[in-house]
């Protein structure tokens, strides 16, 4: 028997195909093999499509029932928007709550299977391990999103959906998946057990998705107070609107809803204006604001990248 000597590491050439790019990292290949093998992936995809189809059918039925009254007419474009919004909303929930499930056991699962030490004594760099796990999880989430594309396209069929809406929705979905996937990986590197990592990750997801609406409810009296009492100065109003904007861009659902409202109301993609009344002159001033999808995407990409960098550092570090 001859055991071949590992070739000295030659300079790596650029991958030529998507398959080569994906499988160059052994972790991606292993994860995808494991995830797609057997009936599990097929069952999950089918279940996903069935749930989405059921939801769309429900929306369609509810709209047509409400439209067939003497007081309202059937608006195909509105129905198209409802269907598209419904699909994107469902996908956003899926991305928020399913993506972490794919990454939360990334490192802690290796510890539980007792394969972590084996990997750490190979030449596999920490970044390949972490990025491989993230890429494999993101690939499956993208597959779920792609599988729902025909349902999204129903919105086009009915009309009322602009191409920029589709582009922005896709971007928001992908960056949200990246952020929550990265969060799952980070907690997975810190925790010895997947259960602990799951609790922490979902606490983070719940805080960022439901925490904001709760905070907004708490802040509502302040904004209402602005309406009853003397109108504050333009500067204070501007600060409060920007603070509200900042809160919105930390939440994917609020970002999606606000962006859609701006697209429909002002037909602008990148920025919009909010009228602010100057209490001294009683004149209205237009306050310029950036559409939330843009800062939200930047926020997700930067925070996600930071979480990944910390995860790589934790994996790289030898035990002390």
């Amino acid at each position: 028997m001859t055991v071949e000597v590992a070739a000295p590491s030659a300079p790596k050439r650029q991958p030529r195909t998507l398959r080569e790019a994906l499988t160059r990292n052994p972790v991606v290949l292993k994860e995808l093999r494991g995830r797609m093998r057997g009936a599990r992936a097929f069952v999950l995809l089918t279940f996903h499509i069935l749930v989405m189809s059921g939801f769309i059918t429900l929306l369609y039925t509810a709209y047509t029932a409400s439209a067939n009254t003497p007081y309202s007419g059937f608006d195909r474009q509105l129905l198209g928007k409802i269907v598209f919004g419904g699909v994107v909303g469902m996908e956003l929930l899926l991305v928020c709550f399913i993506t972490p499930a794919f990454t939360v056991g990334a490192i802690s699962g290796e510890r539980e299977r007792q394969t972590y030490d084996l990997l750490r004594t190979t030449l596999l760099p920490a970044r390949s391990l972490v990025l491989g796990k993230l890429t494999a999880a993101m690939s499956f989430v993208l597959l779920l999103l792609l599988a729902a594309l025909p349902l999204q396209s129903l919105g086009f069929l009915l009309g009322g959906v602009a191409p920029e809406e589709v582009a922005i929705a896709t971007l928001v979905l992908i960056v949200t998946a990246f952020l929550y996937g990265s969060a799952g990986i980070l907690f997975s590197t810190f925790m010895r057990r997947t259960l602990g990592a799951t609790i922490l990750t979902y606490s983070f997801v719940l805080l960022t998705t439901l925490g904001l609406p709760i905070l907004l409810l708490a802040l509502l009296p302040i904004f209402s107070f602005m309406g009853y009492s003397n109108t504050p100065s333009v500067v204070i109003q501007a600060v409060m609107y920007y603070a509200l904007g900042l809160l919105i861009v930390t939440n994917p659902l609020a970002t999606a809803v606000t962006t859609e409202a701006i697209l429909v109301g002002q037909q602008t993609v990148f920025y919009f204006t909010v009228p602010v009344v100057d209490p001294n002159t009683a004149n209205s001033v237009n306050l310029p604001m950036v559409s939330p999808w843009f800062p939200f995407s930047v926020f997700c990409l930067i925070l996600g990248a930071l979480l990944i960098l910390v995860s790589i550092q934790v994996v790289r570090r030898a035990e002390r």
Binding site: M1, E4, Q114, T122, L123
Partner: protein
């Protein structure tokens, strides 16, 4: 003398007040089969985890194949194949995929991996299970597969933590034979074990560790010589026990003659003789007995076995 391939100098690992490894200095020669022996909690696994770059030493230094464990972990990982005392299994993975994955982790080009996997499986006698799921293998087979994994990148040194632990006798023998085969292939094998019989049979060097300290190191024969100031001869006779005892007592070099306790495995009278003298003096003693017409059935020098050595150098302390 062979070059040193594994060396530690005053290697220590402390967890708060607990000292798991204490000033451990050892040297393993290239090509050796080094048995790292010690009771549970002696610090064997901690030492191995430091050698394999998994654990940072509190103080001291270690080198493998000239690479510092602390400063050049990648160089160390290239030089070693590590098998922990457990077998990590991935669900839904075939035997060849398992080796292919770890081959890729060791940066072996894809084109070379197919042939390498077949060679490795042939070496560990698992070629017939190539396409089976890893989790369907028996424990012994998993252990052999794990050993194949450690060889994927053709390392100089194999660090094996309890490779025969929990195996049935046949699987244990198979692993032992495999280690000997790997040694013949030029690998240096550093392994921890509780099975002293394995140490006696295959190790060229032994290190005995207790409470984090290396209490003895060297070849088994060296240790035996160090522990025994005189030779111990065992003489089995067909009869004439008293005559033989009398004849021996007056002989030069004979320190003591004992009649051991009766034993169910002994069917003939036996004498134990403590004797000082070289091989020729031992031979002359046998000649002397024969010249006195004592019917000698067996005449052997009994060595301290590995269990005696272990019991003598350790005190039963657990850190």
């Amino acid at each position: 003398m062979a070059a040193t391939i594994i060396e530690t100098k005053n290697l220590s690992k402390r967890y708060g007040k607990l000292t798991a490894v204490n000033d451990l200095s050892l040297a393993v020669e290239q090509g050796a089969i080094y048995g790292f022996v010690g009771p549970n909690g002696a610090g064997k696994t901690t030492t191995m985890r430091m050698l394999t770059t998994l654990l940072q030493p509190t103080s001291g230094e270690a080198w493998i194949a000239g690479c510092s464990v602390a400063r050049d972990p990648r160089g160390v990982r290239r030089a070693i194949g590590y098998m922990p005392d457990f077998f990590g299994v991935y669900d839904d993975m075939k035997v060849w995929e398992y080796l292919d994955f770890f081959g890729a982790c060791y940066e072996i080009p894809e084109a070379q991996r197919a042939g390498l996997i077949d060679d490795l499986l042939e070496l560990v006698d698992l070629g017939h299970r190539r396409d089976d799921q890893v989790d369907t293998l028996s424990r012994g087979m998993k252990q052999r597969l794990c050993l194949a994994r450690t060889l994927a990148h053709d390392p100089q040194v194999l660090i094996l933590d309890e490779p025969a632990s929990g195996l049935d006798p046949r699987a244990r023998i198979e692993i032992r034979e495999l280690l000997l085969e790997l040694s013949r292939m030029g690998k240096t094998i550093f392994f921890s074990t509780h099975i002293l019989a394995d140490v006696a049979e295959i190790c060229t060097q032994v290190g005995i560790v207790e409470a984090g300290r290396l209490v003895a190191q060297g070849s088994l024969a060296e240790m035996q010589r160090r522990l025994t100031p005189h030779r111990r001869l065992q003489i089995t006779l067909l009869g004439q026990l008293d005559e033989a005892q009398q004849a021996l007592l007056g002989r030069e070099g004979v320190l003591e003659v004992r009649v051991p306790e009766p034993n169910h495995s002994r069917h003939h009278p036996t004498l134990e003789v403590d004797f000082t003298g070289d091989d020729q003096a031992v031979s002359a003693l046998l000649g002397y007995l024969v010249s006195r017409h004592v019917a000698v059935l067996h005449f052997t020098e009994s060595m301290h076995d590995v269990e005696d050595v272990f019991m003598q150098v350790t005190k039963g302390i657990v850190s």
